[in-house]
Symmetry: D4
Subunit: 224 residues, 8 copies
């Protein structure tokens, strides 16, 4: 065997935009610098835009010259090249605490890349529930609400019990031992006593943004 | 203490319709006949309609005369009294196998109660994937797709990878031992390789209907 | 060996009252009718009072004549013979839903047996959070608050975030599949984002009453 | 977007002291140096005091000049600025082994910050149970007992079986493989055969202190 | 195929006594009446003795005439035909509560069948630890101690910390929800802070007896 | 809605034989008598043969006249109508104990239905390992070996370490508490120290037969 | 004791080739450089060939001169010295994504070492299912198919539902939080709704290759 | 508070030798260099001997001059100062593979410290079962057998099925993903199909040695 760089073997799904409205994106975790460069460059060539998620600062720094073309954000660990287009709708991106912000920012950056408007409503967890009530109008005006919360994940239930809008819960891996890296808020949200909460994987801000963007696209005529 | 029938103590949330668009419903599991009757009668009096879920045939039969007023369905274990109103939108309610149908029917009956149109697309699991492809147009025309699947729950991923619409996964408790009463499809759906799938609790057809109805209501002007 | 009725072999802890303020009680689960009768009669003879927990109606009916001496309650599955004594303090016994009431009643009956006052505040879960706010004064006036909740267990967090008093959470085995018979609310309460919540075992209304009574006894001079 | 330092966005709960007797504190884990500084300085400005928990030595050293104002302790990983005030009551802070001490010290430092007296009773686990009996008077004189134990967590049961006082168990993440980072003592304490033990999250010395302080405050007239 | 009674196909291990000192026994669970009869009769014919474990009363009653030859005990769910032989050594069979007695009795009956002496020390759990201290001499005089305990399983640790003898722990499936059918005491015993405790499967009184008998046989010259 | 017998809605995969060599079969669990009858009759009409698995005796008796056409076996809970055809290859179906036989028989009956020869080698578990060695030639002569074992599942490892043939492990739900309904042998087989063991779901004799039949079909020219 | 290098004590199974067709191999994880060298040199001396798996680049670099004799590949973490021999059959090695490639390459390199032909079919996961259909002929022509997939593991089900060949699933430890390091795809594959999928341990490309090679050897006359 | 070196607060159990035959030992994990030195020096002063377990090489190197007095072994991570005394009995310390040796060596070193003879029988796992049979006489001659095994842990069952002696299983944290750091062999050994196996915690070579030494002490008159 001559060349063993098998990680660069890829079958990008360039048909995805046609089928699913939003195009292929790049998941940074577990990819080497070479594989990442190939991925990003192929996307830029074919699609003229790219979203890279789970891209640690260290890995970003390994991308060399390519860095200059990318809008990188360390909190959300995302890099973006985005086409110009009008943004639609409004998604409220909510967190219970400040430690949930990196997950919320992955969500926010993905929404931005998908040309969906969003507003940040951070650190309004139920330990001080007056903070939530002071934001209730903002929450009710959104088309969709994404709630990022660790520990007991109770914020998703409480928010959902107060609004008409679809609520998507993102359990985060924040909490002491018996949170089990996000299992506690995952179970909490799946068992939300306020009906209608749907849930994505632990720390999956990207997936929540995707689902929220699909609802917004449905709402505004899929005109993207 | 004279009367210890504490199970009939209740604080129904009659404000829910104002806050959340859809009114309070009745969860049948764990309630005795007396508590159920009180619940249902209060709802009928105050709201003129009622949806009871998780109502086993045996329990339904304990309701006496009240049975005559209720439209009961044994498959979905639901009883309904519904006001007349035009129905909106379309939700595709999908199952992988025939054993998932009771969960799907709980979803369908709830949608019906919420005045949301739906179509049944049953028994199209990925073991015979041509069945799914033959229904692709039906799936794509829906506003929202609810996928009920046990075992590996793979149908949610495959459907989501082929459509633009929001997909809500309902893991069911169907499967051999290592399905662990729905844990396998729950994890499968939370880890769907097609992005955008959101998930509700195991066997929770009601919750999926609620979330789907919220999206439909958003889409059609919350005019309900 | 002649007589193999080993289940009647017992070493009741008649020293417990001296050491622990409250005396030995009888746990009904897993005991046969013979063993139960011996237990109850010994307690009545030695202590003049008895509390039996986890006593199903069927088992109670097997107790024959002894039934006449016992104050039995089917909801809480408890039987009581209680000495007269003034009651002290106030414990608020709270539930999220109506299905949590049997657990709350086990707590209430145990408090009553320990001569501690209590008030029931039932069915005020966060799905309709206004119900909780309307009871806030009652909650704040109590010496201790016991919160019984299944599903996401979020009520414990929300209550604790609003009050000064000690809050004891009792997760209940109520909920759809991924509640895993009380695991979801157990983890939720252990990870409460409002500090200070302490937790007892799933469905353990008795244990919560014991802990609450200890605090009340501390507060009122252990004068019992 | 110009400034992406979203982690410094915060909504501190300055109303907490009014509502909950004890004010907002700072959780150090998962916060960067910038966020921490902002947090601590805001607290000092507004409240004149601060408690930071889960603050590793390395992170403390990143705080620059601010370090001079803080009383830092590496064992408990806490930093404190505390107002003068008389201390009330007595909490016995107990450990089974020496490895449980960091958790116990987080508890002790929090009690100190809340102006609650405490005494350390360390390394008296049931493997050498005479050590526990020699401290029984100390235990019985306390208003509340906090037991920190890993492995089998059996100390909580044994202590609770010998005293009248409220006992709060803190399972620690100490032990060989099948302790599963604190799951074994967590389950042990939740299943304590001596009634009345309440439990907080794994390694959550802070939470135990909070609950104990609430009881003490109740006891001494909430005069803090 | 003519005869499908495949459950009666068996390959009893009649060589076991030669290899392992104690002969083959019969596990009653999951065997039909026919299979059981064949088993028991073959054993009686070949070995002149038999021990049947996990034999519910109902199943015993299905054995017809064979019942007359068997010494049946409902508490331990065992049936025995035993050869005469002198008994050796002493095993202390201990329980924490009365609900653990059926497991302890399975252990006791198995020891009896293996011609090992035993004494019952029941209901001495750590909730009332003075009961244990009053039996300490009995415990210390035994060759081996078997401790059967559910809930927190703490008794195994406490006993082992006080004696020189080998201690075998048998976790039982007794306890409220978070005991998870014996998982809590299993983990507690595996993590015993007193060294030297070895553990068998949940409710496995038979296995503990086997291990204890092997130690006794080793001690008394394997003369059985 | 007039007719709510939704469970009879089915989309049988009649294309399966073409695609997968073996045709559609009927899974009996969770289907009512009506649904079962429709299923079986459709299969008989279209394919002239049928295999029903997980068919309890009670359910079989509900099938009325249809029973006369079916070859039913209670141990394996299967009903069969089979076309005549020569059988190919040899699969050794092995069990560790007698309690594993129902699972093994589900496997055997499925192989028979697929026209694959098999031999039963039952009750040769490693507790008496000489029984296994006496069958080694039989094992080595088979084309594939299916090992059904509960408890520790060790038989799969030991067999695989002695032979050249493919070994498929079927963990069974047999065992005391910590077997957790088949989890222990499932993990044991997945971690087999003899390489090459592949594993199917707990108690899934049918799935093991399917996989074995695929290998045999590959071997004998897929001539079925 | 003089020399404590106990890790070099080994009992290699040189009889394995005779018994099992394929010889002993070397598992690199958890072995020090000294132990590894001894192992590899013994194998080369006795067998003239060697396969080392789980050999990190760092560890390979510790092997000094021995490196020159080994064909090392960093992606699969394997080192090989291979005898010349004709290769037989064809195994399709498939991955769902690019992150699964290291596991697939461990499989491929093992097949190569066992003189079995293979073809790589990478990155054809069900999120873009057209990629799978375009490879269907390649899949159908193989003797065995090995599917490596993380996240939901759904690819194994979908592939198996379309082909006649034996399908072996390898769950990989790829995915967000609730994939639990491979548990989600493991359960997914064990519960595959397409029958006949057998499964090996998480990330166990080597084990899948072993099982596939056994089937190929069976097919081509075990002529190796 | 002046001095916060709380880790040096200790209550060593110097009464242990009297009560339990073997004295207090030092567990190295989680202790800082200062605490370790204090511990070791106190033991040497009071008892004239010491056993330190779980002492990584790095930590050992932090002990400064004290190192010269200690007999350190990196494989078992133990340091010993041992009094002269005759050794008694024989324990066979067995491993399935070479990766289990560190755990076995912790056992061996502990036995040596307790003046119990032992023989090493390493790398005889059931994948090549002839290796085990060639050591059967050695195994049968031992007073106790300790089996250390990871992966499926099957060696414990197989050994126990062949001998009369007490067998203690030590599951090790060796294995691919689904071994879950020792859970698979732990469950395997708890479910051993050969009766009489008792089990200690994962990787707990020290605990197994303690239990084995207790049996040997019993056997040889507790004359130590």
């Amino acid at each position: 065997m001559d060349d063993r760089n098998f990680e660069t073997i890829q079958t990008p799904d360039f048909d995805r935009r046609r089928r699913r409205l939003f195009g292929e994106t790049v998941y940074g975790e577990g990819k080497g610098a070479g594989a990442l460069k190939t991925c990003i460059e192929t996307m830029l060539e074919r699609e003229g835009e790219v979203l890279v998620t789970r891209l640690d600062e260290e890995k970003f720094n390994d991308l060399g010259k390519l860095r200059e073309r990318l809008d990188y954000d360390a909190t959300s660990r995302t890099a973006v090249v985005k086409k110009k287009a009008p943004s639609l709708g409004t998604v409220a991106v909510v967190t219970a605490g400040t430690s949930d912000i990196p997950v919320a920012e992955e969500c926010a950056r993905t929404l931005e890349y998908f040309h969906v408007n969003f507003k940040r409503i951070y650190d309004i967890g139920v330990a001080g529930i007056h903070r939530l009530f002071s934001k209730l109008d903002d929450l009710r005006e959104a088309d969709v609400i994404v709630v990022c919360a660790g520990m007991d994940g109770a914020l998703a239930s409480v928010v959902a019990g107060l609004v008409e809008n679809p609520v998507i819960g993102v359990p985060t891996s924040i909490g002491y031992g018996a949170a089990f890296q996000g299992v506690a808020p995952l179970l909490g949200m799946l068992n939300s006593c306020a009906e209608g909460v749907t849930v994505v994987n632990i720390d999956n801000g990207y997936g929540a943004a995707y689902a929220a963007a699909q609802i917004v696209a449905t709402l505004y005529g899929k005109s993207k």
